[in-house]
Symmetry: C2
Subunit: 574 residues, 2 copies
């Protein structure tokens, strides 16, 4: 019987009960505005954001492995849903809503599959600059999508660039009341994010409480602005757009099963969504776990996220993900275990059943303001600056991915990002560091002949390769080796010091074999030194090992001593 | 004035003149049958193969950097041309011929661009098993394409699988005379390839002459079979298909410039052709140069190959490449410099002007037989076996690429190959070898605690990472580190020995920075030891370096001594 409960529930530490209950209730209230906002960002009715804060949150709490990560409607999955579906159907239309549910189902099944097949390592396909570049590019897309709401204008153009141009053309027709409301909202939210907590601490408030107060600000902004709208009837007399009636009660569990043509349209987007969800979820779960000295199981995480999205398909119909701000609210509210998420799901259920009438007159500009402030926070200039200072290749990968997202769209953008990640890796590995070394007199140490005064043996070349050998760098190694031999006209022995060679792939092995045959034909013996255990194990049965004209030495020094004593002064007899 | 001549011509070694003249003439005659055969494999009129053995060969001889590589019509570019163009137009039709010329032009411009932009390193994108898998898969496609000619049947179906099925259905209608002719031809060619040279050597013939005789066999087979056709009028009375009239004289230099829609259709195929041409040419040029102790300049090679294809577009209209068998014939005939290729181009020009009437009654089945034997030789079972024995991942990459070529076609096949190359690389690098190490008593050496009796310090963890740190493996490093710390409950110092870490990318640097902050918060100091010069240079300005709770030690032993003397027995004060 207890086997049905997740591990954390079976051994639930009683002392956390109070903290978890309180955190759960706080989270319920605090994530309300963003749940509505992200649903609308996704092009869905606002209640969808509330629905997917119930069953999907429960599913993840019961199955996921992270103690404090919170899933739910998040900015990245929302903008991806919008950018995938808006070319296919009018946002908010029944067809659009049905396709969003299918998208959640497909990506949920894929993520679940990744988890069950233990493909969590797929998230290693992306470097951090690429992930940051992708998120930064997406944030710019979000800004474009929210501009109409802040201006109080309507634009019916698909595509980021068309939308941007149409929005700019509408600029003279902006609703000034809406603009004022949104502008003040953004200002307050921005201040609360950036300086409120610091000011409160400065005024003597305890750090954790100051942080909590800062997180409360968005809710307060929504409440106050809604009260202003109601008091002055801004929606009725000044054309300020509001959320409008939010459906009360539970959603119908119906899911229109996708036809083949729909599957074809949504398969790739679902894959991209699943991939991004995977990367984001695992990255964040590990970061959160590390702070609490816990471990997460990447594959278990994916099972949780997958089931959560499958639940979302039936109950709300909007893809969900692991949310940075949701999780931060959860941690800041004092959550200790997923029980907090269970409580917040129950709390959201109560709100959906009882209280949605309160949301009708929330001004859209304020929700847009909260999205914009969150999106600006997602633009990771600091990472770009660090990348530029540390490694230009990483900076180019960041910029390339961000531009890819803006120019080519989210899907090709992320494909470009994977390509850039791998290209950086390949480029770095294909320009290996190789040094001609000699022995420091009186020691057993070998160092670069150009940097140190070292002793060498006439006609013997000691070469240290500082990289694993694989198809991408063996040509560089080969040409360097041949160039160094050409500079040593009476060469008769070459020693490759392999202390930093962690693996040798088949392409490199065969190239080495050919190099050794070629050198032997020229009367030069190839020796290997300091071959690592795992590399040596693999090589034992190969032609290279069997046909080596030279020897395998335990160390560079052993090779030196051996060649000093037994060394030929002449090339090998042919 | 002399600047107009290539380097090899300006300092031409007189003693090679005789060898080069002879080799050039021998090559002209020997490559005749394959030039006709590959043109027809490409779906072009036979004379196209002769034309592109003139001007393109000259262009490469004057610009390329390899001394003995010979370019011309080759099997891989021929089958690629056929598989790209046959769905777009009827092979041999004027539109088809025009598009083949455009394909040569586009891929020539691309290769030239690769060379001028110094992108020769692009050829490092493919591992050898993937290249072998690609060539093996292409060889199987060639076999399918030649089956109709060997059977003497006609099939009008596009696509490999459809063609294969249609050919099998035609099996009962095979022309037995053709089958017999082709079968005997294949048998003789196969024997001459596999055992003739060995038998001749066994009978006392000098090795180089035996090899030459074996290479002469294909020409003899063509001559003899043509004589048989003429003597018995096999083409007139027994329905044996022959080459038919081969246009004499020079081609018209007209090239129909491609329209935009054609450019769109041919851009990707041209890119694939350029990429494969690049890989093949550089690989072969380097292999040939190595045997002769020469160097090739990869980018100069590409300039040569690019110009050669541009010349081919105007003069013959068929993409060309560096050919394994062409180059082997060249070397075996004793060629010493590209002068041999110049001579062979002039020789081919004479044949085109004077002697094409002789080719009309060559039986197609014999040309098909020579292609089939060459294609069977391209299926690299030995490489697959080596890969299977040495590294399963490489074997899977081979099989995956070959299957990709067969099932998805040449273009998606090679894309899959690049993907598999990179995936193997990433997979290998993402499972780094990490060892907990200790000091061997009485020495300065550190070894794996599991394999050696070593001394350690209580509460101190020595961890050696045997791989460069990058986005793909830092999670593995992180979880191993945390797991080892968890096994050492009173840990207060962690020393990372970085002797095999050749680079640290930004993603890994930031992860290390976070790990260090997290460890410090737990009262554990992180130390680094044996950080390589280039890695250290980059790290100096980073937060990690500045905020390190521990120290940077020159060696593992220095860290040991330092912690032994000054070491805390307690965690850091928080």
């Amino acid at each position: 019987m207890t086997g049905l409960f997740p591990l954390w529930a079976r051994h639930y530490p009683r002392q956390h009960l109070g903290a978890d209950l309180l955190a759960g209730l706080v989270v319920t209230v605090l994530v309300l505005p963003q749940s509505l906002a992200y649903a609308m960002l996704a092009g869905l009715p606002p209640q969808a954001g509330l629905y997917v804060s119930i069953l999907p949150v429960l599913a993840y709490a019961l199955v996921g492995s992270s103690m404090t990560q919170a899933v739910g409607p998040v900015a990245i999955t929302a903008i991806m849903t919008f950018s995938v579906l808006s070319p296919l159907a009018a946002p908010g239309s029944p067809h659009y809503i049905a396709m969003a549910a299918v998208l959640a189902l497909l990506s949920g099944l894929l993520v679940l599959g990744f988890g069950l097949l233990r493909l969590g390592f797929l998230s290693n396909l992306l470097s951090r600059p690429v992930v940051s570049g992708f998120i930064s590019g997406s944030a710019l897309l979000i800004l474009v999508s929210q501009a109409t709401l802040l201006l109080g204008v309507q634009v019916h153009v698909a595509g980021t660039w068309g939308q941007l141009r149409a929005t700019l053309e509408q600029l003279p027709h902006a609703n000034l009341t809406t603009l004022l409301l949104g502008g003040v909202g953004m200002g307050v939210l921005w201040l609360s994010r950036s300086v409120l907590a610091r000011m409160l601490v400065h005024w003597g408030v305890v750090h954790s409480r100051a942080e909590m107060a800062a997180r409360l600000a968005p809710l307060l902004v929504v409440v106050v602005s809604t009260l202003v709208v109601v008091a002055l009837d801004l929606d009725l007399h000044y054309g300020v757009a509001v959320v409008g009636p939010v459906k009360s009660g539970l959603p119908d569990l119906a899911l229109s099963l996708p036809g083949f043509s729909e599957l074809g349209l949504l398969a790739i987007p679902a894959l991209v969504l699943a991939f991004i969800g995977t990367v984001q979820n695992i990255t964040m779960a590990q970061a959160l776990a590390m702070k609490r000295r816990e471990r997460v199981d990447a594959n278990q995480e994916l099972v949780g996220l997958g089931l959560s999205n499958i639940a979302a398909a039936f109950f709300g119909g909007m893809p969900v993900g692991g949310g940075l701000s949701r999780s931060a609210v959860n941690v800041a509210s004092g959550a200790q275990t997923p029980l907090a998420s269970v409580v917040s799901a129950v709390g959201m259920l109560c709100i959906v059943l009882l209280g949605t009438a309160w949301f009708a007159r929330i001004p859209l500009a304020i929700l847009a303001a909260s999205i914009v402030v969150a999106a600006i926070g997602m633009i990771d200039v600091a990472e770009l600056r660090r990348a530029w200072a540390y490694d230009r290749a990483d900076a180019f990968a960041f910029v390339g991915t961000a531009l890819g997202v803006l120019v080519l769209g989210l899907q090709l953008g992320i494909a470009l990002g994977v390509g850039l990640s791998l290209a950086t890796l390949l480029y770095r590995a294909s320009t290996p560091h190789i040094a001609v070394v000699g022995r420091i007199v009186g020691t057993e140490h070998f160092r670069n002949v150009e940097r140190h005064g070292v002793e060498t043996l006439p006609g013997v070349l000691f070469l240290r390769i500082d990289e694993s050998l694989f198809f991408g760098n063996l040509r560089a190694v080969e040409s360097r080796l041949l160039a160094e031999i050409a500079r040593l006209p009476d060469a008769h022995d070459v020693v490759l010091i392999m202390s930093a060679v962690n693996s040798v792939d088949l392409t490199a092995l065969e190239a080495l074999t050919e190099i050794q045959q070629d050198l032997r034909a020229r009367g030069i013996a190839l020796h290997l030194a300091e071959v690592k255990g795992p590399v040596q194990d693999r090589m034992l049965q190969t032609d290279l090992w069997k046909s080596l004209a030279g020897h395998v030495h335990l160390s560079g020094n052993a090779a030196f001593e051996c060649l000093l004593v037994t060394g030929r002064k002449e090339p090998l007899p042919l």
